[in-house]
Symmetry: C2
Subunit: 218 residues, 2 copies
């Protein structure tokens, strides 16, 4: 029975990593849809969101089943309740990929304002943070989790930098405003992806060390 | 023991409602700080966020204690795990109140762009949604929860309307751009408050009916 439960916990970890990989792919494809002006790819991402939602519910149900059946306490119970919270963050990262696609499809109806450089960088850092946060979770690695939290500022700074650059476009030519604001929203969405990764990493620190390091901005 | 557990569940509900009332007050004060250009009130809201965070952790710990000690199954277990997810949404509404205050303080350094009419309306609807979602949770009222979900579009539409109006300011006078974009962020924050209320309401529908009505935008 003990061994069975260990196996179930391992399966749970695998499922969470699988969902993490899926939402990572969704964000990556959303940014590709934007950069390559590929509305058909954007539509694919939007459709695939139901899959993200389905897996989230499956993991949730598995967690409830494990609590009811195995009646874990201590570390194992905290691991499972953290998993339930964490998949909500993953699902919402999936929603943000959809939001990016919606703005990308709107932008694709107009000429390109400028080539994207900082947005893909923001996406890369956010994805590294997400991977780091999930690895930290499955390996109970508090040090890695704290490194993830420390990177949140990089993304926030890129968001500010992108916004400043967009502002110069808007001030110089009012025809660019609606596009520039849409791009600034996408930059905000990516900032929120990084926030979710940070939230997950903070939960891991709490899980491992019992210490609260709540993410309160700079 | 059964009776003791009922009492503990009632205390848990009371604590959640108390946290709900606190974050509602935080959002209300944040919007007041904006409308009345009161940076000192904005600072108070930002400081009070630690209280929101503290109560969230207390509720979380109480949920874990109840699961470990009472080993609930079925409806009671689902109620407690939903509570744990839901307080995360409440805590993040608290963070959004802080975000509103930060933008309000920046706006207060410049002359007022226009009187605020739609922003307070958005805040009112979002707060009604939040109250409704929490009432639906503690009373297991799926009908009320569905009514809350249905109102999300009202807030989304107000956000679009606010954005269009701000766009006309920006196009007419580029000196208004940085202020207008900040106001559009505040409008987005309130849209996200309503999203969190909708998320809570969706969890209630799932809790009561086992039916997923995932909020996928319009």
């Amino acid at each position: 029975m003990e061994r069975k439960f260990d196996e179930e916990l391992k399966n749970l970890k695998d499922k969470i990593l699988k969902l993490g990989a899926l939402v990572e792919e969704q964000v990556q494809n959303a940014v590709n849809a934007l950069v390559k002006r590929d509305s058909s790819l954007a539509k694919d991402v939007i459709e695939k969101d139901t899959q993200v939602n389905r897996i989230e519910v499956e993991i949730d149900e598995e967690c409830i089943r494990l609590i009811a059946l195995r009646q874990p306490v201590g570390v194992d119970l905290r691991f499972i309740t953290t998993a339930m919270k964490l998949v909500t963050d993953l699902e919402r990262i999936g929603d943000l990929a959809v939001d990016i696609c919606e703005r990308a499809m709107e932008l694709n109806l107009e000429p390109q304002l400028k080539p994207f450089i900082d947005i893909p960088r923001m996406a890369d850092i956010s994805m590294q943070m997400l991977k780091g946060a999930l690895d930290a979770f499955v390996n109970r690695d508090s040090k890695l989790a704290q490194e993830v939290c420390a990177r949140d500022d990089e993304v926030d700074n890129l968001n500010v930098q992108i916004f400043r650059e967009l502002l110069t476009f808007m001030v110089e030519d009012s025809h660019t405003i609606s596009r520039a604001v849409r791009i600034s929203y996408i930059s905000k969405y990516l900032e929120r992806v990084a926030d979710h990764a940070t939230n997950i990493a903070e939960m891991v620190v709490y899980l491992v060390e019992g210490k609260i390091i709540r993410h309160m901005g700079a």
